[in-house]
Amino acid sequence: MIISCDNFDDILMEGDALSMQAASRHTAGCQACAAKLASWNEISNVARGMHTAWQNDMLWPRIERSIRAEKRHAQSKWWQIAAAVVMLAALGVFAWKANEKVRNDQFNQRILQASALDAVEKAEKAHLAAIDQLEKSAQPKLDDASTPLLVSYKEKLMLLDDAIAECQANIDRNRENAHLRKQLLAIYSEKQHTLQQVLREGNHVSNP
């Protein structure tokens, strides 16, 4: 390798033992590069003295303690995660069970409601049939209303029939409305009572 002042920096940059030997050979005959190399080496020599060593018998035990603590912490973290997962699972099961119970209750209530409604409607039909029967018995007297009272009963019965029809139409729209059903029952009772009075009045008229 031919070394000149021009490529002296390149040699310094390489910095390996072979390059430095070549640089030394060049500086034997070049004072400028010799000065450069001297300060270059001086920096290296001073730097080598910067390696700092000291004895601290407490350092390793301190590091060891912190590693053990870290290990324990990591383990407890896993336990915490596991505990959290178990708790979440338990909560999930509890919530699912509770939801299931609520759904079952709602289902049972619906069944109860429907069956109760069926029973009410069945009773209503029987009641209606009985009133129809009563109406058929009273019909001849009403058709032949001879007294003002019978005429008044006839008009009242017509009003009650209108009220029944209207109430029934409302119930058909809202089958579960208990208030409407009570109202209908009251009208039917009133009709039944009126028909009974018609029959009684008819008997008084025919048997003076």
């Binding site: 390798m1 000149s4 021009d6 490529n7 920096d9 390149d10 040699i11 310094l12 940059m13 390489e14 910095g15 450069k36 300060s39 270059w40 001086e42 920096i43 290296s44 001073v46 730097a47 080598r48 003295g49 910067m50 390696h51 700092t52 060593a53 000291w54 601290n56 350092l59 390793w60 301190r62 590091i63 060891e64 912190s66 590693i67 053990r68 870290e70 290990k71 990591a74």
Partner: protein
């Protein structure tokens, strides 16, 4: 060699671009064993590592941070980081090199934290109080430390690892995650800069 290296510019050094050099020394079975044991928190293995690398680690940390207390804290933190991250060691470099990389990053973090603390004493003051001496060598070392403390941290790291701790450019490249060529170039330009300051000091 003439014309191969780029021209020297100390103000804004041009880092020659090149394909990153693969690490010259990859992990041995022993390195992998150490990493596995570290991941499990085997303190016996950690002690083994401390005995082998502790002195150099302390010196590197001291020369970056400027005082013994911070250096010891950095070494301790490095071992904790190694414990946490040992499972991610992929064996692309020697375990020792990886260890120094973790240490250097820990030192950088400490320096950044220090910069954020306004009341923190400047590095050169700390060094002055720690290493004041009477001999000519001590005075020269102190001067060099002051000069180094004014350098960008990566330049300082390359200089310290090569000149003080005797790592090769290949090892420095792995520690600092740069190429071997960059390491050579940074060292050369840093020494050039120091040489100028050295002349002025003299």
């Amino acid at each position: 060699m003439h014309g191969v290296a780029p021209a020297v510019s100390l103000a804004s050094p041009v880092i020659p671009t090149e394909t990153p050099v693969r690490p010259t020394r990859t992990a041995s079975d022993e390195d992998l064993r150490l990493a596995r044991a570290c991941a499990t928190g085997d303190t016996g293995v950690f002690e083994e590592i401390y005995r082998a690398h502790g002195d150099r680690m302390k010196s590197i940390a001291y020369n970056h941070l400027g005082n013994i207390s911070d250096a010891e804290d950095a070494v301790q933190e490095t071992f904790l980081k190694v414990h946490r991250a040992a499972s991610t060691y992929n064996g692309e470099s020697a375990f020792g090199t990886w260890l120094y990389r973790v240490l250097i990053n820990t030192c950088y973090d400490a320096l950044r934290r220090r910069q954020r603390r306004i009341q923190e004493a400047p590095l050169d003051d700390v060094i002055t109080t720690e290493r004041a001496g009477n001999s000519v060598d001590d005075a020269k070392r102190m001067t060099l430390r002051k000069m180094l403390s004014a350098l960008p941290v990566q330049r300082r790291s390359v200089f310290l690892l090569f000149e003080v701790e005797g790592l090769s450019h290949a090892e420095i490249a792995q520690v600092l995650n740069i190429t071997e060529g960059n390491s050579k170039w940074i060292l050369f330009s840093t020494k050039k800069q120091l040489q100028e300051s050295w002349k002025n000091q003299s």
